[in-house]
């Protein structure tokens, strides 16, 4: 049992050190740090949600729900030379189409594609879905970059729209519901 009187006496005689003993804490840290270093992932994994053309009851239900809305289709075709065709259709009639050639480095001209998508979103602010049809030689990295451009704009180029309650609001979301167009062709 710890005796305070003895402790004070020992301390006065200089037999007990008053310094905090940090070595057990150090031993604990030496154990913890390797364990945490092994468990920690420094590269954060994220995901982009897309859909594949699987016919299911859920898809059919969604289509039935959407009957009252306008029949809007946004198609983006990526050619093997990295040129892109952006085409908007309403009730199966093409209302807007633009061919965007690749940039000087023969890469996707993402800034022009973004401008076009923002222009379409401004005309149809309640629409959320789009279809991407990449070419056979389109690199996966370019597909992901294109999806990034299609899903969201930056805060300096927000889209103004009127919500269901009639209030004017702004959004940075463009067309987040993206599917691949030529999987089953």
């Amino acid at each position: 049992m710890f005796n305070l009187k003895d402790f004070i006496e020992d301390q006065q005689e200089g037999e007990v050190s008053t310094e905090v003993d940090l070595s057990p804490l150090l031993a604990l840290m030496v154990t913890l740090i390797p364990v945490l270093l092994l468990q920690t992932s420094f590269a954060t994994l994220k995901m982009l949600e897309t859909s594949l053309p699987v016919l299911s009851d859920q898809v059919q239900e969604k289509k039935d729900e959407d009957k009252n809305k306008i029949d809007f289709d946004l198609d983006i075709f990526v050619k093997n030379d990295n040129s892109v065709v952006v085409q908007a259709q309403v009730d199966k009639k093409v209302v807007r189409t633009k061919t965007i050639t690749s940039n000087a480095k023969k890469e996707l001209n993402l800034s022009v594609i973004k401008d076009e998508i923002i222009a379409i979103k401004k005309s149809y602010p309640n629409q959320m879905s789009a279809k991407v049809t990449p070419g056979d030689k389109t690199k996966y990295d370019n597909i992901v970059k294109l999806l990034d451009v299609m899903r969201k704009t930056d805060s300096s180029r927000m889209i103004a729209f009127v919500d269901k309650d009639g209030k004017s609001t702004q959004t940075d979301i463009l067309f987040p519901d993206i599917s691949f167009g030529n999987i089953t062709d």
């Binding site: 031993a27 954060t44 594949l52 690199k139």
Partner: protein
């Protein structure tokens, strides 16, 4: 770990000086806080596979549980089981069906096996349902022609909810 304790004690007694550990404890405290902050309990992680460099995305969201489909420059893997070989940017012809040039036999079998496992589980526990979620970790240099074959086969196996894995590009 009492060895450290003994060494420190002995050195203090023998040499007659006190080892100043405060600075080291400070450093370790900062390291532990940083490591705990970076610690991720998610079972999804970036697989260290030869020939797999993920693309970066600025709009991607936090991933959730899904069947892992891994496509490197050397092969296609379902839950780390190799189902097809990729050589020189093409899937080997022996892995592709003779009747359908977009259909990968072994990939379909493995995906179907995983789907049946979930269906079996759902018989015992109705809360578990097959939702067709697939998380694809693919190399950023791969052509869409390869991915299209894989996605076509996944569609045939009933996987319609595709999630593309990407590294956080700082969006």
């Amino acid at each position: 770990m009492s060895i450290i304790h003994d060494i420190v004690r002995k050195s203090q007694k023998d040499a007659g000086f006190t080892l100043q550990l405060t600075a080291m404890v400070d450093m370790f405290t900062i390291m532990i806080v940083f490591l705990l902050k970076s610690y991720d309990t998610s079972s999804l992680e970036v697989k260290n596979v030869d020939g797999l460099v993920l693309p970066a995305s600025i709009t991607a969201s936090t991933p959730n549980e899904a069947l892992l489909l891994l496509v490197s420059k050397k092969g296609v893997f379902v839950n780390e089981i190799k189902v097809a070989t990729i050589d020189n940017g093409k899937i080997l012809e022996s892995d592709i069906s003779k009747t359908d040039e977009d259909y990968i036999d072994n990939l379909f079998k493995e995906l179907n096996k995983e789907a049946k496992k979930i269906e079996e589980l759902s018989k015992k526990n109705p809360e578990i349902k097959f939702d067709g979620k697939l998380l694809m970790q693919a190399d950023k240099e791969l052509d869409y022609s390869i991915l299209r074959k894989i996605l076509y086969t996944a569609t045939m196996a009933g996987y319609g909810d595709l999630r593309l894995a990407a590294l956080d590009g700082g969006g």
